[in-house]
């Protein structure tokens, strides 16, 4: 009897954590697409990533949760913030600018996509999505992930590293200074920061 009460209390606790995580995940997702300042959008993405990490922990994917926080909040969002700060303030009003039918069409398309996903998943998985059972204690731990990665999925692991390397080289090449070279003379790229107008550009 006492164990039953404890178990139901644990259930309620898990549900509370899940509801908070899911709500903040969706709310910060809406915040990402509705802030007019891209800097705030990137900051809202951190909240989204953190709440997703909480849900990964509830799904007993501990290593993925840690990797999520490290890779996204540690690297991706920081890179975003640096680039947004480098590009400078460009304000944009999300729900206006451009023809109105475009906004309506975008909302309709996104809604149709959502309905399609829900219908497809529901039809495919109705009945088979039974209440989850217990998994082993090692499921999702770093040791387990490491063993699986270096035995069963070794090729994917290596290919992933090659993809990351190629993307890093490509990013550096894209972002590098383009020097205009006269025959024999190498002139540095002209600095355009001085010519740029300081006030924020309005993007419509």
């Amino acid at each position: 009897m006492n164990g039953l009460v404890l178990a139901s209390a644990g259930n309620v606790l898990v549900w509370i954590v899940w509801v908070v995580a899911a709500f903040s995940c969706l709310a910060s997702g809406v915040a990402v697409i509705s802030f007019s300042n891209a800097f705030y959008s990137a900051l809202a993405l951190i909240g989204n990533l953190a709440s997703l990490a909480v849900m990964y922990l509830l799904l007993s994917a501990e290593f993925v949760a840690a990797a999520q926080v490290l890779v996204y909040a540690g690297a991706v969002v920081v890179m975003f913030l640096f680039v947004i700060a480098y590009v400078g303030p460009r304000r944009e009003t999300p729900w206006s600018g451009g023809p109105g039918w475009q906004t309506v069409a975008a909302v309709c398309a996104a809604g149709a996509l959502l309905v399609e996903i829900v219908v497809a998943v529901g039809m495919q998985a109705s009945g088979t999505l039974s209440p989850e059972s217990n998994v082993g204690a090692t499921f999702g731990t770093p040791a387990w992930i490491g063993r699986v990665f270096l035995t069963d999925h070794l090729f994917a692991f290596e290919i992933t590293s090659v993809v990351l390397l190629v993307a890093a080289v490509g990013g550096v090449i894209l972002g590098a200074h383009t020097r205009r070279t006269d025959p024999g003379i190498i002139t540095p790229a002209p600095t355009r920061e001085a010519e740029r107008e300081p006030e924020p550009e309005v993007v419509h």
Binding site: G10, N11, V14, W18, L26, G29, V32, I33, S41, A42, N48, L49, M55, Y56, L59, S60, A61, V64, A67, Q68, Y72, M79, F80, V83, Y86, V87, G88, E92, P94, G97, V107, A110, L113, L114, I117, V118, V121, A125, L129, P131, V135, W144, I145, V148, F149, H153, A156, T160, V163, L164, A167, A168, G171, L174, G175, T178, A189, R192, E201, V203
Partner: protein
């Protein structure tokens, strides 16, 4: 510890994907489009991990980690493009970037 069903996680993933798709369609700033792409990729990750837990199959988690690496690569190249655009004083408006030659 029986928490919510996997269907609840899939519902959250579907809504997050819808929000990301809406952001990609509705925003004009290239940076925000990239952020919305991140939302969509994360929704896919959430569905992968939920189903991996459901089927007791670790391949979903491995795939989620691979998706994370691909997302990092995409951000790397995308932000490189943004920096290159900004250096040439081009607009970051996706509606105006209709010609690849700029």
């Amino acid at each position: 510890m029986a928490g919510p069903d996997v269907a609840w996680y899939l519902a959250v993933a579907a809504f997050l994907f819808g929000i990301g798709a809406l952001g990609v369609l509705i925003r004009r700033n290239t940076l925000v489009v990239l952020l919305s792409l991140e939302l969509m990729l994360n929704a896919g990750n959430l569905a992968l991990i939920a189903l991996s837990r459901h089927w007791h199959n670790g391949a979903g988690q491995i795939f989620a980690l691979a998706v994370m690496a691909v997302a990092a690569s995409e951000v790397c190249v995308g932000l490189g493009l943004v920096v290159a655009l900004n250096r040439r004083d081009l607009s970051l408006d996706v509606d105006r970037l209709s010609e690849l030659r700029g």
